[in-house]
Structures are given as structure tokens and as C-alpha cells.
């Protein structure tokens, strides 16, 4: 009974939908269905927490047609966070190659763009665009969940 009362009392925790991002022409063929595979290429995990929030009940990216999946084979979109470390450059490239065409890469966070505070670190290869072609970049350190949802809406078009 406790759970029933909790469900009734909590009601809907989802906030009103965030503003939509610009629609990427490359994503037009996906027509409202985007499966996302995430790769942490060496991030501090700050961005991962925000991505987790973007798919949480509050921001709820699923209502716009985006869903996290367990395999790159199922994915249309690859989200990458962090400066790419030496050890993760290979796995990141392999993940990208395992995805079926057309594949879209979303770099999330400032580190993914210019390595942030980790630039010139001994274990860092470089930004994400050095390893795989980046289509969309979400700025912020870490970016707010609403910005991540907005970028995903730009891919689903909803």
C-alpha cells in the first residue's frame, strides 16, 4: 500500500518540456526516434551525472523520442564526454565503427571540445573531434540537463 500512496501523492514530477534546439538536417531521416549510446572517453563524470538527469523523470528526454540503448549496433547517436584519453581513443573509434549508418556524434561538455582543464595532460589524446567526426556540441562544464535535452530534441525533431 505504501507504494500506491507514494505514486498518488507524487503525481507527475516531469517539468514542462525544455526549449527545442535547432534541427540537424542529417537527423531528418530518424523521424522522431533517436537511440543513444553513451561513451565516457575520459570525463570527470560530471557530464555523466547531467546526462543521467536528462533521462530522469524530471527532464524526461524519452518524451521527445530519445532513448538510451545498451549496444552501439542499436544506436543512431553517439554521445561522448570528456577529453579523449590515450586508452579510450581505440574503444571510442570502435564504438563509432560498430554503429550502422547514418551515425551522428554529439560531444557533451567543454572537455569534449577543447579538453578543458585536462588539455596537455600526459594521458590525453585530444578533443573528441580528433578521433571521430562531431556533428553537435553541447557547451557547459557540466552542461545543464535542459541543454542536453535541447540538443537531443534537435535530433528527434520533437
Amino acid at each position: 500500500m505504501g507504494l500506491t500512496r507514494k505514486i498518488l501523492k507524487t503525481g507527475r514530477v516531469a517539468e514542462p518540456a525544455a526549449r527545442a534546439g535547432e534541427v540537424l538536417p542529417k537527423a531528418a531521416g530518424l523521424s522522431g526516434s533517436v537511440q543513444v549510446r553513451h561513451v565516457d572517453a575520459g570525463s570527470c563524470n560530471g557530464c555523466e551525472i547531467e546526462i543521467g538527469q536528462a533521462f530522469s523523470p524530471v527532464y524526461d528526454a524519452e518524451r521527445h523520442g530519445a532513448r538510451l540503448v545498451a549496444s552501439p549496433r542499436h544506436a543512431d547517436v553517439l554521445t561522448v564526454t570528456g577529453p579523449v584519453t590515450v586508452n579510450m581513443a581505440g574503444p571510442l573509434r570502435k564504438t563509432f565503427e560498430a554503429m550502422p549508418e547514418p551515425r551522428i556524434v554529439v560531444a557533451i561538455g567543454d572537455c569534449a571540445k577543447d579538453c578543458g582543464m585536462f588539455a596537455a595532460g600526459h594521458g590525453v589524446t585530444g578533443p573528441v573531434s580528433d578521433v571521430v567526426p562531431v556533428d553537435v556540441h553541447v557547451a557547459g562544464c557540466p552542461p545543464e540537463p535542459a541543454r542536453i535535452v535541447a540538443a537531443l530534441r534537435g535530433l528527434t525533431g520533437r
Binding site: R12, G29, S33, Q35, R63, G65, V69, R73, P100
Partner: protein, 312 residues
């Protein structure tokens, strides 16, 4: 109306309805979790997009990998065409219980072989788990419907459902209550739902169904997901028609068939809602506890058969 056209129409109805049934379970679950959730037609959008994408094949995968989606889809279509979902007349007369369970198992085995064929660790692990579960579920499916077949003296699903449709009150016996409980648990296990498997898991170590299809992409994945949705719709439809046989057409006149199709849609969506609501309250069982649950459901199915002989 020709019996073959009716069968094709029924298969088409189930195929169109199946992703919607999956969408309903996701929407209900999202609502109860406080999320806004995707639209009910979202599974259709996913399948439509996947059908447009080219499939990929892992290195060294052979004929089992490429054949499994087609086998899974064709067995599902065959069951959807023959089982008396809409009307008990027509080729529903050829829908024997043992054939239907055999076809379901053929699809399961095809997918398990495909999981092994990929050569990945998770694929093989998923296959071994799926076979463990299937070995315990199929006897339960058979026995649970046997309990209902003793009343009419045949394993023909068309006759069983027709007997129920002509006298719905006779369905509610202690035997059918036990059979219903057993069949419901078997349905959860067969369609990879909580508490046996979690359809939305991302943890490879807890996967069963998802682990086998990790390597599929594009059109192949669309077929596998579509067929899996159809299997859920088929088993929910079977549950609905065996234990709540109201509204099933006994002829093939247009009005009766249209009404029966509408009633079937409502029944399936109702069961999907119940399923999703029950899933919110349940947690996934630890894998080693699953055989206990399935053994329990088998015992209930056995008791149902015994009861149907003793009390009949």
C-alpha cells in the same frame, strides 16, 4: 469472407497492434513513475526508422545470425494468423495448442542460436539463460492450456475458445483460475518482462533477451523487435480469449469480425495496462530465483490439470 483472407487480416491486425501494445505498457509505466513518457506510437516510430537503416553483421557470424529475425517474424505471423483471436471459424480450426507452443519455441530457439552465433560473451550468456527459462516455461504453457482442453476434450484452440465464447460463465472454475495464474507467469517469462527479465535494462550482466540481440542493427533489429512485440501481443491475446472469451466472433460475417477485432484491441490494451502496473510494484528476481518462480507456475498448471479432472 474467405477463411484465408480472414487469417491474413488477423495476422495484419496483430502485427499492427503489437507495437501499440508495447507502447501502452511503456506509457503506463512512465505515468506511474511520474514521467511524461513517450507517445503510445513511439515503438512504431522506432521500427519505421530501423527498417530504413541497413543491417550490420558481426565478423564471423553465420547463417543462424542472419536467419533468426526472419524465422522469429514468420513464426509470430503464423501464430497470429491461426490462433482464434478474432473469430473461432475459418482456419482457426487448425490452430492446435501443441503446434502453437512449438512455433513459439522455434522462434525462441532461433534467437538463442543467433545469440551463440555472434561469438560474443554476452550473446552466449543470454542464449544459455534464455534456454534455461524456455525449458521451464514451455511445459507450463502446454499444461496450463491442457487444463482448459479437458473440458472440451480436444487441444484445438479454436474449439476451446468457441466453447468459452458460447458459455462464458463455464470458464470460471477453480481449474481455470489455477491455469490462468500459471499461464500469466509463463507469459511474463516468455516475453522477457519483470520479474524474469527487465525489458529496459542496460546492464549486460542482468540481461536475458536483450543480451541475445545486442549485435543486431537496422532492418534485422526492426524484425526482432517487431516480432518480440507480436509475441507479447499474441500471449496477451491468448490469455484474454481463453479466460475472458466475451466478444470473440464465432462466424465470419463482417460485423461480427469488426466488433470482435475492436473487443480484442480493448482486451489487449487492458491486459498491457495491468502488466505495466504490476511491473512497477515488482522487482526483477535474481536469476537463480527464477527457476523457483517458474517451478511454482508449473506446479499450479499441474494442479489445474488435476483439478479439472477431479472437479469436472
Amino acid at each position: 469472407m474467405s477463411a484465408w483472407i480472414a487469417a491474413a487480416g488477423q495476422a495484419l491486425l496483430i502485427a499492427l497492434l503489437a507495437p501499440i501494445v508495447t507502447g501502452v505498457t511503456r506509457a503506463v509505466r512512465a505515468r506511474l513513475e511520474g514521467r511524461a513518457g513517450g507517445r503510445i506510437a513511439q515503438p512504431w516510430r522506432d521500427i519505421r526508422k530501423l527498417l530504413r537503416k541497413p543491417p550490420t553483421s558481426p565478423e564471423g557470424a553465420g547463417v543462424f545470425f542472419s536467419a533468426a529475425p526472419v524465422v522469429l517474424m514468420s513464426t509470430s505471423l503464423l501464430i497470429a494468423a491461426t490462433v482464434p483471436f478474432v473469430s473461432t471459424a475459418g482456419i482457426a480450426g487448425s490452430a492446435d495448442l501443441i503446434v502453437v507452443v512449438g512455433l513459439l519455441l522455434l522462434g525462441t530457439v532461433a534467437l538463442a542460436l543467433a545469440g551463440l552465433d555472434t561469438g560474443t560473451a554476452f550473446g552466449g550468456m543470454g542464449s544459455s539463460r534464455e534456454m534455461t527459462i524456455a525449458a521451464l516455461v514451455e511445459p507450463t504453457l502446454l499444461l496450463a492450456v491442457f487444463a482448459l482442453s479437458t473440458r472440451v476434450g480436444t487441444t484445438n484452440l479454436g474449439v476451446i475458445v468457441a466453447a468459452g465464447a458460447s458459455d462464458p460463465a463455464a470458464v470460471f472454475t477453480p481449474a481455470s483460475l489455477l491455469a490462468f495464474a500459471a499461464l500469466a507467469i509463463a507469459t511474463l517469462a516468455e516475453t522477457a518482462r519483470i520479474p524474469v527479465d527487465n525489458p529496459s535494462t542496460h546492464l549486460e550482466l542482468t540481461m536475458v533477451h536483450e543480451a541475445m540481440i545486442l549485435e543486431y542493427s537496422g532492418r534485422d533489429l526492426a524484425l526482432v523487435e517487431w516480432a518480440s512485440a507480436m509475441r507479447l501481443a499474441i500471449l496477451l491475446g491468448l490469455l484474454a480469449n481463453l479466460f475472458a472469451p466475451w466478444g470473440v466472433a464465432t462466424g465470419t460475417t463482417w460485423t461480427a469480425v469488426v466488433i470482435a477485432a475492436a473487443v480484442l484491441t480493448v482486451k489487449m490494451c487492458g491486459l498491457a495496462t495491468l502488466l505495466a502496473a504490476a511491473e512497477v510494484y515488482a522487482a526483477k528476481l535474481r536469476l537463480f530465483r527464477v527457476p523457483e518462480l517458474l517451478a511454482g507456475s508449473f506446479a499450479m498448471a499441474l494442479l489445474a490439470v488435476l483439478t479439472s479432472y477431479i472437479l469436472a
